[in-house]
């Protein structure tokens, strides 16, 4: 009656041999690497027994018992816990890139601790877990609120997680800049240090991890149903919302427990399940088991690397969080190459609700924004707090004020314009309202080069910095093009490539933060967009450049309208899809690079301005670009002005202000979509 197939597997598919082999290799490699420095001083038997006893006559033995053994144990414990939490997260969201890190839970936990340190130190003394759990729940709540109406599509969830991570990072940074004296140590700790000097933290941690892990295993069967998608799972009698909420709560608890003790150990929760899956773990049970094992091995390895780097480097502490991030980047790239079909994730709803506010007249909107821009310029030039309070400066004196206020204002505005344009290009190209240059990693590429320069200790001039940042952006672009060629420059893969770049940047940044000193504060100033560094010639150079690029944009308005219809439709309309994408990508990268050197990589302007343009009723490409450019300029002009006056006579970085304000707008705006 039914068609016969020639060769069919007769038995259950077994676990591929490479999975246990890889796990064993990983564990043995990590254990041997970790114990290698000790083997010269203690014999193997004594080293093993260091886990439960020590010889008081032998200093090495005491050291091994109180420092090395608990560090190894806690690395394995945390790695296993995070690996399991990551696997569960991926199952909940049906998303191969979900993890406590990418969902912003870790950043949230850290934020909770920062806030508690500043405002409620008593709470911290009572229980650090509570603060971290509160922060973690806040972060995941925001991610869910953001993606609720857009469907839980994998890329959207990850982007929302990134936005939250950036946003909470910016909040942390604002606290650091305002109250730095209180938070210095927090950053060494925040970068994830596993250094131990007794068994107490481990003893405190293991029962909690164990209980949470058991609770997660109890949820295994309902979690398996989620694989069938929301409709079928609920048709089978599962309360999908309840299961998701419970499982996410457990993930947050697990992550927060870890974060509150050792800081952010990024990307273990992502790398472990991805590795397990790539090596062939197929059923949920297998995935959970092997992710747990991989997580333990990975973190032990990363921690050993960090330990070695600290010992052999110049003595400065290399936190484990840095090395895990260095491992996390390549793993995301691996995942990017193998999970090709991002459109058919299990459990993904077929049609995320679109959002279409009413169309409005472009002339009116453009006029209003231009008027606002003009007012901002006038106020910014003329009205400022001085030594004798607030005062207006007569227009005849503007010549004198120009040198101080003009270039930075002009540059900020131009950066806003560039980001608005680049953001529109990227959102249109990827068909994703959360795409933006920040997310594409081009800003991240520029920042990475700056971080490397600071790390190498080289002193270079401002012009050199500009050149280096441009080079970094171009490098990131090149890498993206290489990565994306396979996918014909399709949108979502590009965004994931950007995520990987961001991870690298993050790793470098943590390293700089941990080492502290003046370089760190220099870098921070640039990262968060300190417009006061801009000179007059730089501002005018930027002006010429932006005008030039904007004229090129006229060429691509129509291709950009066609591309979102899909490759097939675009090609059958006679558009050379890959060439159009390449041009778009190039323009977006150049615009982003020029803005990044001014305002730093972390402002949300490229994300918000195009979104704002849509909310204001500009639906066609050309109109959206114009309004987004103006809105971006306005946003950063206002941010620049505020950054001068908010903590006068001190200054805040304008990019940081833009990120804070923009983040709030973004959360508010996206959560009310489609209502």
């Amino acid at each position: 009656m039914y068609a016969e197939s020639a060769s069919l597997p007769a038995a259950r598919p077994a676990i591929p041999a490479k999975l246990p082999v890889a796990a064993i290799v990983l564990w043995f490699g990590a254990l041997i690497a970790s114990s290698a420095p000790w083997l010269g001083e203690l014999d193997a038997g004594a080293l093993v027994s260091a886990f439960w006893t020590f010889d008081p006559e032998n200093y090495s033995s005491v050291l091994a018992h109180y420092s090395w053994a608990p560090r190894v144990s806690i690395a394995i414990l945390i790695g296993c816990g995070l690996g399991l939490a990551g696997a569960v997260t991926q199952q909940i969201l049906g998303n191969p890139l979900a993890s406590p890190t990418t969902l912003g839970v870790e950043a949230g936990g850290q934020f909770g601790i920062t806030v508690a340190t500043l405002f409620a130190p008593g709470l911290l003394a009572f229980s650090p877990d509570l603060a971290a759990i509160g922060g973690g729940l806040l972060a995941i709540g925001m991610v869910i609120a953001l993606t609720w109406r857009l469907g839980f599509s994998p890329v959207t969830v990850i982007l929302a997680g990134l936005v939250i991570t950036f946003f909470l990072g910016a909040m942390n940074m604002a606290f650091l800049l305002l109250k730095g004296e209180w938070l210095g140590n927090l950053f060494i700790w925040g970068a994830g240090s596993l250094v131990q000097n007794n068994w107490e933290p481990f003893m405190e941690l293991w029962p909690r991890v164990l209980v949470l892990a058991l609770l997660m295993l109890l949820l295994m069967r309902p979690l398996q149903l989620l694989q069938l998608g929301q409709t079928s799972a609920s048709a089978l009698g599962a309360r999908v919302g309840l299961i998701r909420a419970l499982a996410l709560l457990l993930v947050v608890l697990m992550t927060a427990t870890v974060v509150s003790r050792v800081g952010v150990v990024a990307f273990v929760g992502l790398a472990a399940p991805v590795l397990a899956k790539l090596l062939g773990a197929r059923t949920l049970g297998n995935k959970l088991l092997w992710s747990t094992l991989m997580g333990g091995g990975l973190l032990l390895l990363a921690d050993t690397l960090a330990h070695w780097a600290s010992t052999w480097g110049d003595g400065s502490l290399v936190p484990t969080g840095t090395t895990t991030a260095l491992i996390g980047g390549p793993v995301i790239l691996l995942a990017l190459q193998s999970f090709r079909n991002t459109h058919h994730m299990p459990g993904q709803e077929s049609s995320p609700a679109g959002f279409l506010p009413k169309r409005r007249s472009p002339v009116l909107i453009t006029g209003v924004i231009s008027a606002l821009l003009l007012i901002t310029v006038i106020v910014s030039m003329g009205w400022a707090p001085g030594l004798e309070g607030w005062n207006w400066m007569a227009i005849t004196q503007w010549d004198d004020a120009w040198a101080w206020r003009g270039p930075r204002l002009l540059a900020a505005m131009l950066a806003g314009v560039a980001l608005g344009l680049a953001g529109t290009l990227i959102q249109r190209m990827t068909g994703n309202p959360m795409g933006s240059p920040e997310m594409l990693g081009i800003s991240g590429g520029a920042a990475l080069v700056m971080v490397l320069i600071v790390l190498s200790g080289a002193e270079i001039s401002r012009i050199g910095q500009l050149g280096a940042a441009t080079l970094g952006a171009a490098g990131a672009l090149g890498l993206l093009i290489l990565l994306a060629r396979k996918h014909r420059f399709a949108g979502n893969q590009l965004l994931l490539g950007g995520l990987a770049l961001y991870v690298f940047m993050d790793a470098g940044l943590r390293l700089v933060m941990a080492s502290g000193g003046t370089v760190a504060s220099q870098l921070l100033n640039w990262m968060y967009g300190s417009t006061w560094l801009i000179s007059e010639s730089e501002a005018f150079g930027l002006l010429g450049f932006i005008v030039l690029i904007s004229s090129l944009l006229l060429l691509i308005v129509r291709p950009l309208t066609i591309l979102p219809l899909g490759d097939t439709a675009a090609a059958s309309l006679g558009l050379s899809v890959s060439r159009a994408r390449l041009l778009l990508l190039f323009l977006a990268a150049v615009l982003t690079a020029s803005a990044t050197v001014v305002i730093g990589p972390l402002s949300f302007v490229g994300l918000i301005a195009p979104h704002l343009a849509r909310v204001l009723g500009q639906q066609t490409v050309g109109r959206q670009m114009i309004v987004a450019a103006l809105a971006g300029g306005l946003l950063l002009a206002v941010a620049d002005y505020l950054s001068r006056i908010v903590v006068f006579p001190n200054q805040l970085p304008a990019g940081l202000l833009a990120a804070l304000v923009g983040g709030v707008y973004f959360l508010w705006g996206l959560s009310r979509h489609g209502r």
Partner: protein, 257 residues
């Protein structure tokens, strides 16, 4: 035969748009019913309401005499099985593993699968002719086989009712007929109540006991194939002039003028 579902003055609207208006219907136990209608007539919505995937704006549905709102989620899933129009990808699950998930409503999150469960899973796989495929990954199957795997999951669920949303719209003629024949046979063997959304009126008339038609959210025709397969009624359903021929008893061919 008693009423399995009883729909009374059902209204569904999404925002401003009214999808279903004042629907009063009974679905009798052991009957295979086809829901017909043009695109956007509300037939999928009606099915979703019956499957409790959507809640009505007003009106009520009762299942076997007791109101919908009082039944627990798993209890409901033991009685009614629902196959969505586009089942999602299954991320490497084998056919057998997919079918085994159908036992969830009976065993819950922690209960162990016993011999009875495994027998029912085997039975469901055998009934859908998937013995050879049971250890293949669902994602690697062809469209018709995948559809059968999902139906097997519904069978393992041991429900008394199947709600199928356009189960054959992506299949070729051979697989369309095979799938409907399978549904028809299973309904007879297991005394199932089946409600199926179909686009092909000829196939519906061939394999179903009763045809129900909706137009712009309202019920416009309800009866046996013999009553519905009439050029006048088909014209009111689809809004184009149509003719019907009866080639043999119980085999109609409809065509567009």
């Amino acid at each position: 035969m008693s009423a399995f579902f009883e729909v009374s003055s059902l209204d569904v609207s999404i925002g401003e748009a009214s999808i279903l208006r004042k629907i009063n219907l009974e679905f009798r136990e052991g009957e295979v019913t086809a829901l017909l209608g043009h695109n956007g007539s509300g037939k999928s919505t009606l099915l979703k309401v019956l499957a409790r995937q959507m809640s009505p704006s007003s009106g009520d549905v009762s299942l076997l005499g007791s109101s919908f709102r009082t039944t627990g989620a798993r209890e409901f899933a033991r009685t009614v099985g629902y196959l969505p129009q586009h089942p999602p990808g299954t991320d490497g699950l084998t056919v057998r593993e997919l079918v085994a998930l159908g036992r969830y409503p009976w065993r819950g999150p922690l209960g162990r699968y016993n011999d009875e469960d495994h027998r029912l899973i085997d039975q469901a796989i055998a009934d859908t002719g998937l013995d050879h495929f049971q250890h293949r990954s669902v994602d690697t199957l062809s469209g018709g086989e995948r559809q059968r795997a999902w139906i097997a999951m519904l069978l393992a669920q041991q429900t008394r009712c199947l709600l199928l949303d356009e189960p054959i719209s992506a299949l070729d003629v051979k697989h369309q007929v095979e799938t409907l024949r399978l549904v028809h046979r299973l309904a007879e063997e297991r005394e199932l109540t089946v409600i199926v959304v179909l686009h092909d009126v000829d196939l519906a008339a061939r394999f179903c006991d009763r045809l129900v038609a909706l137009k712009t959210g309202q019920l416009i025709a309800d009866g046996s194939p013999r009553e519905i397969m009439d050029s006048g009624i088909l014209e009111t359903i689809y809004g184009v002039p149509m003719g019907v021929m009866e080639r043999a008893p119980g085999q109609w061919v409809s065509y567009v003028h």
